[in-house]
């Protein structure tokens, strides 16, 4: 159950769209925030033109990309955030190149346990500028968020998580997290949080104007012994891409120490085509190994 929220603004299309006079001029869409009755989030007023729903979707895409990037950059598995709602924004669309989006949105803490507690709905607020380039990954992001958790508390929780990870017995006898019934063993929770943090990097890079991802399940985990006390582990995640409904397995390798920047390497499997799936050759997954080592 989700905490109660303020009634969200319902986006409406602006007063008019100036037609571009030059090929490189962008369309400017202004969206004014409007308060809608609680519980109802009309996608659009049917009296308005149908494409009024599109800017809302684009703002959401931008907010998601910005939040993945923010989570990755913060490098803190106990301070992860999820999108609460988009509050306002503007977009400049250039059909040939991509689009630039300014967006303001609210966030809440990722920790699902807080869902069951009333009054835990402390919202953070973020503003971001996101630039999507057509057919290119890694949207450029500039994002700032108000602080949700006091720095010292965050450091303590990160350190506790770190300790819990270090105490895990290897090899980890894990089939999947969550299990098929959605349950995450509290003992395994730190693994999940760290995996979510690492996946944020992957999901940031892969989010575009149209595709967005959720972390569906962790299917394998392996922790490595290190010489320098860092947490070093390999895991396989299943990402769910909503617009195509595809499940994408990604292999992720991450190195983490509380307070230090996260280091991530990954490789996601590409969709099979009927030819590749004939059995005579492996799927031609082009490795997208990017890292910030």
């Amino acid at each position: 159950m989700q905490p109660r929220r303020q009634p969200p603004p319902a986006p409406r299309s602006g007063p008019g769209n100036p037609r571009p006079t030059a090929p490189l001029l962008a369309l400017l869409l202004l969206l004014a925030p409007v308060v809608a009755p609680a519980g109802s989030r009309g996608a659009e007023d049917p009296a308005q033109p149908q494409d009024a729903g599109v800017p809302r979707r684009l703002l959401q895409q931008a907010a998601r990309a910005a939040l993945h990037f923010f989570n990755f950059r913060a490098g803190s598995p106990s301070a992860l955030r999820v999108l609460a709602e988009v509050q306002e924004g503007r977009a400049w669309i250039n059909p040939k190149e991509g689009c630039k989006v300014d967006v303001v949105f609210s966030t809440e803490r990722y920790k699902p346990e807080s869902l069951l507690q009333e009054g835990e709905g402390r919202l953070g607020k973020c503003s971001a500028r996101v630039v999507f380039k057509n057919q290119k990954p890694r949207p450029a992001i500039n994002v700032t968020c108000t602080r949700l958790i006091e720095k010292k508390k965050r450091q303590q929780e990160d350190y506790l998580l770190y300790k819990q990870m270090k105490q895990l017995k290897n090899p980890l006898e894990i089939v999947s997290i969550p299990d098929n019934h959605g349950h995450i063993d509290p003992y395994l929770r730190p693994i999940w949080d760290l995996a979510f943090l690492g996946s944020s990097y992957v999901m940031w890079e892969m989010t575009t104007q149209v595709s967005h991802y959720y972390l569906a399940q962790l299917t394998s985990v392996r922790q490595w012994k290190t010489n320098d006390d860092t947490i070093d582990f390999d895991y396989t995640v299943l990402l769910h891409e909503l617009s195509t409904q595809e499940i994408i397995p990604c292999h992720i390798h991450l190195v983490w120490y509380p307070g230090k920047p996260l280091k991530v390497k990954y490789h996601c499997q590409e969709l099979q085509t009927p030819e590749e799936a004939s059995g005579t050759e492996e799927g031609s997954a082009v490795p997208t190994e990017l890292s910030n080592f």
Binding site: V82, P112, Y187, L242, P274
Partner: protein
């Protein structure tokens, strides 16, 4: 490759929660030939300083062994959990008290917990002989659901009957529950759940809803009025092959399990296989894709069965197709941005339904047409229904918005079903009051 455990030597697995420790104990009991843990307790001790910590470590070294650490002595601020056999309780508690070590009893009797856990596991796995002990707050296998259907129909035969409308690709029965107070060919309402097999919350919601209907009939005036004039049909497992596969091999399987010669990838997206804008945008001709529409409209037996049934019946007035996740309530079209002719009416009805849903547990839903709210999708159920003359065609996306996604914890089944019911009831009531 071993992760180096921090802290002191902890012989027991740590940290653990009840679930894990109990399973561990079961395995242990089996391995040691049915050990008995009656009267054994788990104590949690908080050591104030290193001195107290070393006193606890001393306990570890006692021979014969008097305690079994589940969370060993590591640092003064971290709790220490230890299992104490019944025979040693007196000694250990005296030891702790005499040294000023504060402790609390985490588990009063391990064997009791073990027995309860074993009982719960066995219970949910047994095929029940009646629906009164069927757990509505758990997820079930196909066999359990089909068994429940038979019991359910037997217990409520005055208004419920079971109809087989066809067979799946792998030859499983496709079943529909009919709720009727009599009459011949009353105007009808169709509800389907589980067309995408990984959306487990939908089957669970459907089952709860079926039970809700029989429970509230005669008590809820609105529902009783609906059933006096109309029939309700619920297809709980619209994709039985896919559903079985989510239990056996791949929890995130979406499509059916149809196989065609020369095509290596399996399955068609049943919600792209309908005869309405078939093959258009938002569906895929690649058989390996999750939104593969299939070779032709209605090529899949699971879809053909529904088309044949609804067409032959000829008097359906509403169709509601239930999916997860995203928390949305939508109406046609999915295949294009073109608004349907009664768009205003559907918008207002969706708004009312979503508000009724919100009132139950405060969960917010987006609403609007499919193409503008979710995405463009062609060959979908509700587009076909609308084009076939069913004016009130709706598609739900249930909880949540991505935190758990398809793997929604079972604890959310009943709250989800309760709120969804209020939305369904709103739509059905409107359908009743607006005959056409």
């Amino acid at each position: 490759m071993q992760g180096t455990p921090a802290g002191g030597t902890s012989p027991g697995p740590s940290p653990m929660d009840r679930q894990t420790l109990l399973v561990f104990s079961l395995i242990l009991a089996a391995a040691l030939g049915q050990m008995n843990f009656t009267g054994d307790q788990v104590l949690r001790v908080l050591a104030k300083d290193e001195k107290q910590l070393s006193l606890l470590r001393d306990l570890e070294g006692l021979k014969p062994q008097k305690v079994d650490f589940w969370r060993g002595p590591a640092r003064p601020s971290l709790p220490v959990d230890m299992r104490v056999p019944f025979s040693e309780l007196k000694y250990i508690k005296a030891y702790l008290e005499s040294h000023g070590l504060a402790y609390s009893i985490m588990i009063k009797d391990i064997q009791v917990l073990l027995d309860e856990e074993r009982e719960a596991m066995a219970k949910s796995r047994r095929l029940e002989r009646s629906t009164s002990s069927f757990s509505y707050s758990s997820y079930h296998t196909l066999e359990e659901i089909y068994s429940w259907i038979d019991n359910f129909v037997t217990e409520h035969s005055n208004i419920v009957s079971k109809i087989q409308i066809g067979n799946s690709f792998e030859n499983r029965s496709i079943l529909v529950l009919k709720f009727s107070t009599g009459g011949s060919r009353h105007p009808a309402i169709w509800i389907d759940t589980g067309i995408h097999s990984r959306e487990w919350i939908t089957h669970a919601t459907g089952i709860w809803t079926a039970n809700k209907i029989v429970s509230d009939y005669g008590k809820d005036r609105v529902l009783t009025d609906i059933l006096k004039a109309m029939d309700i049909f619920i297809e709980l497992v619209t994709n039985p092959d896919g559903f079985a596969f989510t239990h056996s091999m791949n929890r995130l399987w979406r499509k059916n399990k149809s196989i065609r010669p020369g095509i290596f990838c399996i399955g068609v997206d049943l919600n792209r296989n309908w005869k309405s804008g078939f093959g258009g945008n938002g569906s895929n001709s690649n058989p390996c894709s999750e939104t593969y529409h299939g070779p032709s409209p209605q090529s899949e037996p699971e879809v053909a069965a529904i088309v044949n049934f609804i067409t032959a019946h000829g008097n359906f007035k509403a169709l509601i197709s239930i999916h997860s996740y995203s928390q949305m309530l939508m109406y046609p079209y999915g295949r294009s941005l073109e608004p349907v002719s009664n768009q205003r009416e559907l918008y207002d009805l969706a708004k009312d339904a979503v508000e009724a849903l919100y009132k139950v547990h405060g969960i917010e839903y987006f609403f609007g047409s499919i193409s503008t709210t979710l995405y463009v999708a062609s060959g979908i159920t509700v587009d076909w229904a609308y084009d076939s003359g069913i004016k009130y065609a709706f598609s739900f996306e249930l909880r949540d918005t991505g935190r758990y996604g398809f793997l929604l914890p079972a604890t959310q089944i009943i709250p989800t079903a309760q709120e969804t019911w209020m939305a369904l009831r709103t739509i059905m009531e409107h359908t009743l009051n607006h005959p056409y």
